[in-house]
Symmetry: C2
Subunit: 302 residues, 2 copies
C-alpha cells in the first residue's frame, strides 16, 4: 500500500490551504496557477478524495482536506528534518558507534576520551561492549563493532590503530609479601614466585608480553591460578595466592592487601590502542579517531 502521492503534492496543497487561493499560492510557490490547479487535482485523484472546496469565490479545505493538510504539514516537517539529519550523519555529527574495550582501557584513558567525545558529539550514540583484545579483533573483522580500545601492539592488514595510552608494566604483590618492603623489584626476584594470570584462552595478548618479559629475565613463571579478568587477578593477589604483572593504569587503583612496585631496570611499556577497520568511511568513527588523536597528543606531550 505505498502512497500514490508525493511530497510536492503535499507542498502544493498546503500552499493552497495557507493562502486560501490558487493564484496567491502559485505566486508564493513560484509556479503558474494552472500548474498548481492541475497538481492539486492530480493529488485529489490519487487519493480518490476531494480536498479543496472550490466555491468560485473562496477556496476552502474540505474536512478530508483539513485532515490531509494537518498530516501533510507534519510529513513535510519530518521530511525536512530527515534531510537535515542525514546531512548531519554525513558530517558525522549524528550516528551510532559500537565500541569494544578491554579492562586496561576502561581502567585508563577510555573514560576521559569517551567523555570528551560525548561532549563534542552529543548526537552520536555509542554502545560499549567489554571484551578482550582477541575477541575485539574478530568482532572488528566481522563488522560487529566499529572500533575497539585494545592492547597493542597490533599489525593487521585490515585494521588501523591509534595509540591512546601507554603503561609501564609493574609488579603487584600481596601486601605482606617480603618483596613488598622494597621500593622496586626486579623480574629475577619473582622467578620462583607463584603467578596469578589471566585465563590463557582470552588473555593471550597480555600473556604474550608477560611470557616475553620472563623469558628475557631467564625464567618461566609458575602459574598458580588463572582468573577471568583484571579485577579477579588483583583480588587473587590480595588473597595472597601469588604475584602478578600488570600495568600502571590498573595498579594505580588502590586495593586493600595489594601493593604495586615498579620493575627495576629499563621500563617495559604496554600500549593501548584505538583500532578500527582500515579504509572505514564512517564519519562518526573518524571523529572518534580525531578525538583519540588529539587526546593522545595532549597527554603524551604533557
Amino acid at each position: 500500500m505505498r502512497p500514490r502521492f508525493d511530497l510536492r503534492h503535499v507542498e502544493c496543497l498546503l500552499a493552497v490551504a495557507e493562502h486560501g487561493s490558487f493564484r496567491r499560492a502559485a505566486r508564493h510557490l513560484n509556479v503558474a496557477q494552472p500548474a498548481l490547479s492541475r497538481t492539486v487535482r492530480n493529488l485529489e485523484e490519487a487519493l480518490g478524495v476531494l480536498l479543496v472546496a472550490r466555491d468560485r469565490r473562496r477556496v476552502t479545505l474540505t474536512p478530508a482536506g483539513q485532515v490531509f493538510a494537518e498530516g501533510g504539514a507534519r510529513l513535510l516537517a519530518e521530511a525536512a528534518e530527515l534531510a537535515h539529519g542525514t546531512a548531519r550523519a554525513h558530517k558525522g555529527l549524528l550516528g551510532k558507534l559500537r565500541i569494544g574495550y578491554t579492562d586496561f582501557a576502561i581502567a585508563g584513558v577510555l573514560p576521559d576520551i569517551v567523555n570528551a567525545f560525548r561532549t563534542a558529539f552529543p548526537d552520536i550514540s555509542a554502545t560499549f561492549t567489554p571484551s578482550v583484545t582477541a575477541q575485539q579483533i574478530e568482532a572488528l573483522r566481522e563488522g560487529r563493532i566499529d572500533a575497539g580500545f585494545l592492547t597493542g601492539p597490533l599489525e593487521l592488514p585490515f585494521v588501523e590503530t591509534q595509540e591512546v595510552q601507554c603503561d609501564a608494566v609493574v609488579a603487584l604483590l600481596p601486601a605482606e609479601h617480603p618483596l613488598a618492603a622494597r621500593a622496586a623489584v626486579s623480574l629475577q626476584e619473582l622467578a620462583e614466585e607463584p603467578f596469578v594470570v589471566g585465563a590463557s584462552e582470552h588473555w593471550a595478548h597480555f600473556l604474550t608480553h608477560v611470557m616475553h618479559l620472563c623469558q628475557v629475565a631467564g625464567f618461566r613463571p609458575k602459574v598458580a591460578q588463572e582468573a577471568a579478568n583484571s579485577e579477579a587477578i588483583v583480588g587473587l593477589v590480595a588473597a595472597g595466592i601469588g604475584v602478578t604483572l600488570s600495568i600502571e593504569s590498573i595498579a594505580r587503583r588502590p586495593r586493600h592487601g595489594v601493593v604495586m612496585r615498579p620493575l627495576a631496570g629499563e621500563p617495559y611499556e604496554i600500549s593501548t590502542l584505538l583500532a578500527w577497520r582500515r579504509g572505514g568511511q564512517d564519519p562518526a568513527l573518524r571523529h572518534l579517531r580525531d578525538v583519540a588523536v588529539s587526546y593522545w597528543r595532549d597527554t603524551s606531550g604533557a
Copy 2:
C-alpha cells in the same frame, strides 16, 4: 527549506537497503535496474550525501544511509497512514465536529445521541459548546460551529434541521405553593403569579413560546426575576421567588423544593432540533445527522 526528495526516492532507497542489491530491488519494485540506479543516484545528489556504498560486489548503506533509511521508513509509513486517514475522513469516519447545545438538549436526548454517535464513530472528535439557540444560529452562519442542538421551530434559508426531542411545556412551582397540591394546573391560574424567566437577550427563543402561551390564555406574565440559564431558573423557583414554565426534560430532574405540574388542556409541545448549514458536505456531519435521524425514529416510534 523544502525537501528536495520525494517519497518515490525513499521507496527506492528502502528497497535497495532491504534487498542489498539494485537488481533484486528493481525486480521487486517492478522497474528496470538502470532506472533504480539513477533514482538512487538522484536522491544522493539531492541530499548531497552518499547513501549507498557500492562495493561492486555487495551493496550496503553508509552510516548516513542508515539514518536516512530509518527515517524514510517512518516517513513512508506515515504517508500511507495519512492517505488512509484522509480516505477515512472522506468517508466520515474521521474528523472534527464543533457542536453547540442548549440546556434543553443536554437535559434531554443529547447525551444518548452523543453516546450512540461516539460509539459508532469513535474517531470523530466532537467539541461541545453550551450556548442558547440564538447564539447557535449566529455561530452556524459564521461557521464557528458545525451543528447545534437548539430549540425549535426554526425555518431559515441557510440551515436544515432534524427534530430530535419533543417536550410538553409544564409548570414548575415552589413546593409550598398552593397550586402544588393540584395534579395539573391551567395557565389561567398562573395569570397573577410572579414568573421567573430566562434573561430576554439570550432566552428569546423559549420566551417567545412562553409569551405566546400566556397571550392565548389571556394574560401577560409578570416577570419577577430573570435568570441566566435553566439551572438558575429552577433554583429561583425553589427559593419561592415565583413560578415558571419549562419543559419535561428539564423538569424531570427532581429538585428539592420544586414540583412539576402538567398544564391542563391540550399539551403544548416544544421541539429540540439538530441544525446544520444547508448543503453542508461534511461526511462526519452527515453521520451525526443519520444518528440523530435513526435515534428520533426509534424513540418517537416507541
